[in-house]
Amino acid sequence: MRHLKTFGTFWYDFIVGDDWRLAAGIVIVLAAGFLSAHHGVDPWWALPVAVSALLAVSTTDAARRVRVSSTTAVTGPAGPVDGA
């Protein structure tokens, strides 16, 4: 069971990484692009816009959490924002 968990954790870290919302967002955007493209709409511009938005949200949120964990440090230890 422990080995199975280690195996699963390895692949989760390897593929999904620090912010699962990036991976989930990409899956949703690509699925929407696939459906649009196969219904006569060519959404080539939507992919770069969506990718920029996802990256902006993810990095801004990580920066905000650094600030929150720093300012609340006096009340107790805060967890790390990301893995190395």
Binding site: D19, A23, L30, T59, A63, V66, R67
Partner: protein, 249 residues
């Protein structure tokens, strides 16, 4: 043009992983002896060869559209992870990765571990194997996916080969941790490349018709560079502001 891009992208992506593996090998090799370090690395490389041989043909047999969608999506996720970390590091919200510190940690752990009397030092073997296999798996993945999506694994492997030779030469010359390599800059460049290729391939796989077809790769590259630099600049300003008002520890 496309081929040069493929070789450069594969080469850059691979050199980052190879530098990390080389740091671990150097740490245990210098402190506990080279024999077991080399055997561990060699065994890991053999295992990797099996993985590549098993995955390569399977990927090449897949339909190009589905392959580009899956591979492009994965590369896009990887690329965004790398870009995210590089942006947070360059803006000061995340500590810079320090190869010197990693080397010192590995060196301390290697000296502290008990030495076996047998001819093969299992600690050195395991650490070398682990470092080479895990980093090598990422290199193999990059080669198979980059090459598989373009139906030219050989060209991607050439990029990885160039990286291997370069990393080996650098490792032999400096014979110590490669902290001189500007790691974050390298990771930023890899993130940009992975995101660019990922977006292009995933888009094509999903059925998107990029204006100008292959030429649009350059436009996507410029867009990713500009967007990430703008984001990095904005977050750096925010970090400086937070430091000024004392909101950061």
């Amino acid at each position: 043009m496309h081929n040069v891009f493929l070789v450069v992208a594969a080469s850059l992506a691979c050199v980052v992983e190879m530098v990390e593996a080389l740091t671990i090998i150097l740490a245990v090799g210098v402190t506990r002896g080279w024999r077991s370090a080399i055997i561990g690395s060699g065994t890991a490389l053999l295992g990797l060869a099996v993985v590549v041989a098993a995955l390569g043909p399977a990927l090449s047999a897949l339909p190009i559209g589905g392959l580009r969608l899956v591979v492009g999506g994965l590369l896009l996720v990887f690329g965004l992870q790398w870009l995210r970390k590089a942006i947070l590091r360059s803006s000061g919200f995340k500590a810079l990765h320090d190869e010197d510190a990693i080397f010192r940690d590995e060196e301390r752990a290697a000296l502290a571990a008990p030495r076996g009397r047998e001819r093969l030092d299992w600690y050195t073997f395991t650490v070398s194997f682990k470092g080479v296999f895990l980093e090598g798996l990422e290199v193999a993945f990059i080669v198979v996916t980059f090459g598989g999506a373009q139906h030219d694994v050989g060209l991607a492997a050439l990029g990885a080969g160039i990286s291997a030779v370069l990393t080996l030469v650098i490792g032999l010359c400096v014979h110590r941790p490669l902290s001189q390599v500007p790691e974050n800059t390298m990771k930023y460049a890899v993130g940009v490349m992975l995101t660019t290729f990922g977006m292009f391939w995933a888009g094509e796989g999903a059925g998107v018709k990029w204006p100008g077809q292959d030429v649009s790769l350059l436009a996507i590259l410029a867009y990713v560079v500009a967007g990430s630099m703008l984001l990095s600049w904005a977050l750096r300003r925010k970090h400086t502001h937070l430091e000024t008002i004392g909101a950061l520890a």
